[in-house]
């Protein structure tokens, strides 16, 4: 299947008083129709900035998307779009679901109107038709009594319901690409599951490409086809769900997976954490961004940024441990042995 979205060498900076914060430093990935791509990483790793850049939502100034970046949507480099073309693309071709449903709806506008707004904007339909479509959307996202709910304000909805409304807004024009920025973070666990099921259903029914940004690996395992792991503005590893969960090739991915609490573990072991903090992106490190926190850090890691090593058509990682020389020195066949060792 061809790629709906191709991001090539995306670089985004923010100009602050303290200096230029290089939030995203050369990120490339693809998203296919009908598939779900998950971007995982800790806070500040550049996930949200990446997704906002895809929708052209980076405020400039202080933000800046570097000229050399390419975002190709449906064969068109949208980086060259005029503001008018961007507006036609937003909401119609690509839509976004935001993290906090409590703040992402306008408190003084009726919910129905907020859904109808983008329908009326992008398709030439009458108000009545838009209303019908909005009702359908509310039904589709499982909101009971949609007729009555249409005329209510966001404060009359619970958090889960609001997130459904936000999803309905995103779905309004049947976008080909849906970006969900931590859609379940602000919700409680039972609601989370419902929202994930809803997103899965939509993805299948509409053949939508979903880019899911999250730091919840549980959500990723259940929904994603491919995973990108981001750290300090870079992709450190990417692969299919199976590859990332079963054969991680980067110490950061490995540490993330080990940090997930294990309910089956009965002997009350301590939670595994990743000590330290991410680097300052005003002055990003010369070498690997993770070097200072990596328990397998070698001399070269601090000197030179690692290149991507390819393991399969879909799987690649940026870590010096995958270099033939490192393997020779450690006397290993695969990085897996290092992780199992725990050192």
């Amino acid at each position: 299947m061809s790629n709906l979205l191709e991001v090539k060498n995306l670089e985004v900076s923010f100009h602050t008083y303290a200096g230029e914060v290089k939030a995203v430093r050369g990120v490339s990935f693809e998203a296919k129709a009908g598939e779900c791509l998950a971007i995982v990483g800790e806070s500040g790793s550049g996930k949200t900035v990446t997704s906002k850049a895809v929708l052209g939502l980076i405020a400039t100034p202080p933000g800046e998307v570097k000229k050399t970046s390419e975002i190709i949507f449906d064969g068109q480099n949208i980086m060259n779009y005029s503001e008018k073309e961007w507006r036609a693309y937003r909401g119609k071709d690509a839509a976004m679901i935001f993290q906090d449903p409590m703040t992402s709806l306008n408190p003084t506008m009726k919910v129905g109107k907020q859904i109808m707004e983008s329908i009326l904007l992008h398709s030439k339909v009458s108000k009545d038709e838009a209303k019908k479509r909005a009702l359908e959307l509310l039904k589709m996202v499982n909101i009971p009594n949609p007729e009555e709910r249409m005329n209510q304000y966001p404060y009359e909805f619970s958090g889960g319901m609001r997130q459904r409304v936000v999803i309905a807004i995103a779905l309004a024009c049947n976008p080909k690409l849906m970006i969900a920025d931590e859609p379940t973070t602000a919700l409680d666990v039972t609601i989370q599951a419902q929202i994930i099921d809803l997103l899965k259903k939509i993805q299948k029914e509409n053949n939508t490409a979903v880019v899911m940004i999250t730091h919840d690996l549980g959500v990723v395992a259940g929904m994603a086809d491919d995973i990108i792991v981001m750290y300090a503005g870079r992709i450190v590893e990417k692969g299919t769900v199976y590859e990332i969960f079963n054969e991680p090739k980067h110490p950061y991915t490995d540490a993330l997976l080990k940090a997930v609490p294990n309910l089956k573990n009965e002997n009350k072991s301590e939670l595994r954490i990743i000590p330290g903090t991410p680097p300052d992106l005003i002055a990003p490190p010369k070498g690997c961004g993770f070097a200072s926190r990596c328990q397998y850090c070698m001399g070269i890691c601090k000197e030179q940024s690692p290149e991507y090593t390819r393991f399969s058509g879909s799987h690649e990682a940026a870590c010096w441990l995958n270099h033939p020389m490192a393997k020779e020195v450690y006397g290993i066949k695969d990085i897996k042995e290092v992780f199992e060792d725990g050192k």
Partner: protein
């Protein structure tokens, strides 16, 4: 909603009674009495006659009861300083000019202030933002009579007369001509205040996620401001505007003096100076009434603008 408004009116009457009572007794605590004047000393017999005529020879409690009784009949008494004219007559004669000036000034202040505030917020850090901040600082820190005097100096001999006010029978052009300068000088502090508050309010709203969502829908900046920013940003402004409106429509002593406007403003000061008891009571009550009225209006406006407030009002009366 009607029940809510009735309740508010009930509170308003109680508040007015409290203000009236306090003012009445405070006023009588001022040393001296209306028969004393710094310029000339009245013979004792004349002073006593006057006191008897005004009912000041009776005990204070009796005076209070008589005043309340008259007030219930709508009579606020004859002014001591302008015999023959009742306080009612003075207010009904003088208020229209003050009201007109006040409303014009508020309208100009709101329109310019809000536009400047919105533009400043949208173009934060650009020249329009600095201009707004500059106007805000100047407008707040320089008193209105300085502007009034400057306007008079530079407008003298031009199309706009530097004194006088519109009167009955004038066409719209003439009204504009006569009211322009006073309106401008009275509206400057409003422009400054509203633009400053609107700027921060809009900035506050712009940082919300729902603005980003609106943008991700593909709306243009103008549509976002019109549909999503304005209504949400205006709420905090309402609570600032309401008391200011009360202040400005009841007359400004300084502006009315400078432009010779037949307004109510001077009576607030002169009645106290001259110990004109009925006028002190009348101006205080009138001002309080307008003030409370504006506050009720503010509550109603809140309910119109913000559905959450509407709901709490409706629920509170179930």
């Amino acid at each position: 909603m009607i029940k809510y408004i009735l309740k508010k009116i009930g509170y308003m009457i109680v508040t007015l009674w409290v203000i009236l009572t306090i003012t009445f007794f405070l006023m009588n605590c001022i040393p001296g009495d209306p028969t004393q004047d710094s310029m000339k000393v009245l013979p004792e017999a004349v002073a006593n006659n006057l006191k008897a005529r005004w009912g000041l020879d009776k005990p204070l409690s009796e005076q209070y009861v008589i005043y309340l009784k008259n007030l219930l009949h709508g009579q606020m008494g004859e002014s001591y300083k302008t015999p023959g004219l009742t306080a009612n007559q003075i207010i009904s004669e003088r208020f229209p000019a003050s009201l007109q000036l006040g409303l014009q000034a508020v309208a100009v202040g709101l329109i310019l202030g809000l536009i400047l505030g919105i533009l400043a917020a949208l173009h934060r850090g650009r020249w329009i933002d600095f201009l707004t901040i500059f106007i805000a600082i100047i407008g707040v820190s320089v008193p209105s009579f300085v502007f009034a005097a400057l306007l008079q100096k530079y407008a003298a001999g031009s199309y706009f007369p530097i004194v006088g006010w519109s009167s009955k029978g004038m066409g719209i052009g003439q009204i504009f001509q006569y009211t322009f300068l006073p309106t401008v000088s009275a509206s400057i502090s409003g422009i400054a205040t509203y633009s400053r508050f609107m700027r921060s309010s809009v900035l506050d709203v712009l940082s919300n996620d729902y603005i980003l969502l609106a943008k991700s829908k593909g709306l243009s900046n103008f549509q976002i401001v019109k549909r999503h920013v304005l209504r949400n940003a205006i709420t905090p402004i309402i609570s600032i505007v309401a008391p200011q409106v009360a202040n400005i429509v009841t007359g400004s002593f300084v502006i009315e003096r400078i432009f010779s406007i037949p307004g109510l403003g001077r009576y607030y000061v002169e009645s106290v100076n001259g110990r004109d008891y009925p006028m002190i009571m009348a101006t205080t009550l009138f001002f309080s009434f307008i003030f409370i009225f504006c506050m009720v209006l503010m509550d109603i406006l809140y309910a119109i603008v913000d559905p959450r407030v509407r709901k709490s009002i409706i629920e509170g009366n179930k």
